[in-house]
Symmetry: D2
Subunit: 145 residues, 4 copies
């Protein structure tokens, strides 16, 4: 049975804690939309590295994540020096893509931002999408087949 | 008659030409998803500045753009030194928000990325959304009431 | 007696611990020279914020740091996921400027980079250098007059 | 005769024209010290790419620039939307390193910043300095042996 057919599977939530620094602020003292994407990216690297598939493994296997689509809702401002938690969890999965759900939680527990990223598994040498599989898939989902 | 009720209105397309530089590349030599958002942001600044509502006017009026949502599709890679065109056009408009449609066109004319941003008009002093109006609205839409 | 005439004064060393993430790497997998300056900047913000003079105080007083000169030596590579310590200490001080000494220490204790920044105290409203004084000076030096 | 012994040689000045955008500004509306280093880096890439040794050539030869030291003076503010010229010229050269002199000229012709970078030629595979030579040296100096 593959992950893709495992309808009832429960994917674990990964939590990454960080805080907002001066470098995150734009000229209005605001955390800009592009910075949110950098924060989500950071959370994904922390997650897959902690699950044994970091940059070193990407270089060895030449198999990496590619972002196909994303949608992001910016719901509440996050402030300088605020401690935030970025949660990440697979929401759904098919043969060639999966959907990752991120949330940024503010210090008071409210949701600052919510996003969905559609990811594929990318062969860096052939420059093309391949089937979701192996160690990469285990690191993204948190589940071993 | 306001822009919001002007169903048949044609909003002009703004085109911003730029090219991909070494600083846009991540450690895989790839233009990363967050960089696309920075490119879209750059295109919006170029657009509103060329229409007379740049950072100086934002500071004077304390009325600025706030991004409420975005969705982005990453369709084709853009390569180092490639010349790109980022087109921007209002797609729809309501009392409090509008939807901006961006496309990144590659040198060969194909679409590298397509995105929709839901924007509001933000009072920087009161930290709240206000009605879409005035010079800000004219600069975003390219249409004077 | 002012700090400037206090020849024998010992200025405390501030240490900021952080680690190298994927976002620090350029397209060669290398931490680029500009990133070192961002790391030094981060260390200074951490230092003055911890001493009670963060961005909020800068906004209230409209008195901030301005960098007049810097010199940086890049001595050893720092690697992805390496834990580093950035130390910061005032080295010398005159009426209008002071010299800040930073070092980046690698996990093995060797010096990855060493830099000296000549700073002034800047009145953000008048856009000009002012005498080194008050809470700003205490936060930068770690010494109260 | 090598470049290193050619005492009286005149090295050509490369000029790179660009302008300050909103993304260059920090939370004080100021172009931050780290941004200057990114601008100098941009100028170097433009220079060597225009002389036939861009990123593609770096990847093929695995020979690239490494920054050993830099010193930068920040003399005048550059403002949003200001057109600037970054000039680059080799100032001196020895067997293993060379010194590059950059200046940022403001729209009014005054010098905003001046810097000197000590560079070496780096073998990316062996991770070590090699002698200055070949196409890389020609691209950096603007002079063919």
């Amino acid at each position: 049975m593959s992950l893709q057919t495992a309808g009832a599977i429960h994917f674990p939530i990964h939590e990454y804690c960080t805080s907002i620094q001066e470098r995150h602020l734009d000229t209005f003292g605001h955390v800009n939309n592009a910075q949110y994407l950098r924060l989500f990216e950071e959370a994904r690297w922390e997650m897959i590295t902690s699950r044994g598939y970091g940059l070193e493994e990407v270089r060895q296997t030449q198999v990496s994540t590619v972002i196909l689509e994303c949608s992001v809702r910016f719901k509440r401002e996050i402030r300088l020096r605020e401690k935030i938690i970025i949660s990440t969890q697979v929401e759904s999965i098919s043969a060639k893509t999966l959907c990752l759900h991120h949330r940024i939680l503010k210090e008071d527990g409210k949701v600052a931002s919510e996003s969905r990223f559609t990811l594929g598994c990318f062969d860096l040498r052939a420059r093309k999408l391949i089937s979701l599989e192996g160690d990469w898939l285990a690191a993204i989902t948190g589940v071993r087949n």
